[in-house]
């Protein structure tokens, strides 16, 4: 079956979001090359995209498409090889501190309680203690962890730990939330719950979110726009605007509109060889 999908576009022809006057995040021709013992690896190849303030933008792609690298560069934690990233017009050349960041693993300090881990962010920023404590408690309560404030990480389940990590990333009301496959290590029920939690937090706070994932359902469910990347070298394949009402519900995942978005992405993956079907049931 021939799929009517255009080949991946080259060298910054795709500019996700176009030239927006109010763009918050502005990535231009970003390239990242890793020089390794086995030769050079092109992790990102002239990626350009923009995001508006308050937008929920997902980067979706298979492993090795450089999406995590993109996030690290956007956080200012590693440098790009060429091209640039601007935040509100400001070029990024050092670790950003105006962000909240959530990694795939919760990265909690084992010697601090759940509350203590959330408060670490407040202490680091020298926030007013009482107000920060109140906000930390509110955040933990909003993700159902009120009764677990004083538990240590090893006493919490994987999903609870990741919720603590999300609370920590939000206590200082950051302009932008960067999430690197935050639910990748969780079971699917926990993941559904956390996706709902995240949507609620986002609708309340309206921070700009850059969400890295390899889950089609997560990306479509949460995002205003989904940036689909093609693998090796990482390039932007397509940007898909998700026009579904909010708050989105789990039932909405079964709606024809939702299915249509998922199918569009699936077809891209099939066309790029990220996914391969075995037609005629000939698979052994």
């Amino acid at each position: 079956m021939e799929l009517a999908v255009a080949p991946p576009m080259d060298s910054g022809q795709v500019r996700a979001g176009g030239e927006l006057a109010d763009s918050y995040l502005d990535v231009r021709d970003l390239t990242k090359i890793y020089a390794t013992r086995d030769g050079v690896v092109r992790a990102l190849d002239r990626v350009s995209l923009t995001a508006k303030r308050g937008e929920f933008l997902s980067i979706l792609g298979p492993s090795g498409c450089g999406k995590s690298t993109l996030l690290m560069i956007a956080a200012g934690l590693i440098p790009g090889s060429s091209g640039e990233i601007r935040i509100a017009g400001q070029k990024i050349d050092r670790p950003r501190t105006d962000i909240g960041i959530v990694f795939q693993s919760p990265v909690l300090l084992e010697w601090r309680t759940a509350l203590g881990n959330v408060m670490l962010q407040a202490e680091a920023r020298k926030m007013e203690h009482k107000a920060a404590l109140k906000r930390a408690r509110e955040l933990l309560a909003s993700v159902g962890l009120s009764d677990f404030e004083n538990k240590y990480p090893h006493e919490l389940s994987g999903g609870m730990r990741q919720r603590v990590s999300i609370c920590r990333s939000l206590i200082h009301s950051p302009d932008q939330l960067l999430m690197d496959e935050p639910f990748g290590a969780l079971d699917s029920l926990t993941r559904d719950q956390l996706v709902l939690d995240l949507q609620q937090l986002w609708m309340k706070q309206r921070m700009t979110v850059l969400f890295i994932t390899h889950s089609v359902a997560e990306a479509v469910f949460l995002s205003d726009r989904v940036v689909v990347m093609s693998p090796r070298p990482g390039r932007i394949d397509r940007v898909i605007e998700i026009d579904l009402p909010r708050p989105r519900t789990l039932a909405m995942r079964e709606s024809p509109e939702f299915a249509d978005y998922s199918r569009q992405i699936m077809e891209l993956f099939l066309a790029r060889g990220v996914l391969n079907e075995h037609p005629g049931g000939k698979a052994e």
């Binding site: 956080a75 670790p95 960041i101 693993s105 010697w111 670490l120 090893h154």
Partner: protein
């Protein structure tokens, strides 16, 4: 077939009171099991100990082993009682040497590990020397220390230090270096400076490894102090052992060994208690499992 199905249905819907009974019974059983495990952890080794001492006592009497070869435990105990003052005095001296040598290991070892971690060129320059210092047999250096520092407290403290500081340095340096990259990234994104990152994140992260090093170090400090006393002692338990040996007083020799063992256990216990106060419980079990084997 239908019978089985019916039984299944019956089991699936027991009345709530009996479920409560089952819960209570299982909970009781668990508490009982934990209690008996706690008790047996103390009673079993104690029984083995008593049995061994009893066998020793019986064997040395039944086979008529000469007392200068193997005095029975009762004779050792009597000798210890007789020389109690001497044993206590020498123990205090040896304790001082062990304690000072160990403290010196921390005072020198921990900052050295910090420097190794924070300043890579320094690490490259110092590492081979550090390894070489461990290749030198410390017992062989002891006479040299006597020539340099005389027969007082200092040479013993230095030998204890020389043996004991290496695990402190290595475990501290490894503890500091073994941190998830994400924790460092997190610190950067929170705007923590290098100093704050070090003290708020890296150092606490390294504590289990550091304590594992301290536990190895304290047992080595005991060895170091005794070696120092062997070579140039005018006192201390090591010196006592030599004197007892020279006068064929094997009972007192055993008494000195018992005293030394006691000292080692007490010092180790002190470190373990401090560790327990400083670290959350799960970190200790993780450290004893993984890091102490190094």
């Amino acid at each position: 077939m239908s019978d089985q199905t019916r039984t299944g249905e019956v089991q699936a819907k027991p009345d709530p009171s009996s479920i409560g009974e089952i819960e209570a019974r299982l909970q009781r059983r668990r508490i009982q099991r934990e209690k008996s495990e706690r008790i047996s952890a103390i009673v079993y080794p104690a029984l083995v100990m008593v049995a061994l001492i009893g066998a020793w006592e019986a064997a040395s009497r039944v086979f008529g082993v000469p007392q200068f070869l193997l005095p029975p435990p009762t004779v050792v105990a009597a000798s210890m009682h007789e020389h109690a003052n001497l044993l206590i005095k020498e123990s205090l001296l040896t304790s001082a040497e062990i304690g000072l040598g160990f403290l010196l290991s921390i005072v020198v070892g921990v900052p050295l590990a910090f420097a190794i971690f924070l300043w890579p060129p320094f690490a490259r320059a110092v590492y081979p020397l550090l390894i070489a210092s461990q290749a030198v047999p410390k017992v062989a250096v002891a006479p040299l220390f006597l020539v340099w520092f005389g027969f007082g407290l200092l040479p013993k403290v230095l030998i204890a230090f020389l043996i004991a500081f290496f695990p402190v340095v290595i475990n501290t340096a490894i503890g500091l270096a073994s941190i998830e990259r994400e924790k460092v990234y997190l610190a950067q994104s929170m705007g923590l400076g290098p100093m704050a990152t070090f003290f708020k994140i890296r150092l606490p992260n390294a504590l289990p490894s550091i304590f594992a090093g301290l536990k190895i170090s304290i047992t080595l400090a005991v060895v170091g102090a005794v070696v120092g006393e062997f070579v140039g002692g005018q006192g201390g338990l090591g010196h006592l052992l030599l004197v007892a040996n020279g006068s064929m007083d094997t009972a007192l020799l055993f008494g000195g060994i018992v005293a030394l063992t006691f000292l080692g256990v007490v010092f180790f216990g002190i470190i373990a208690v401090v560790e327990r106060m400083v670290l959350p419980p799960h970190a200790i079990s993780a450290a004893t499992g993984a890091r102490e084997s190094m």
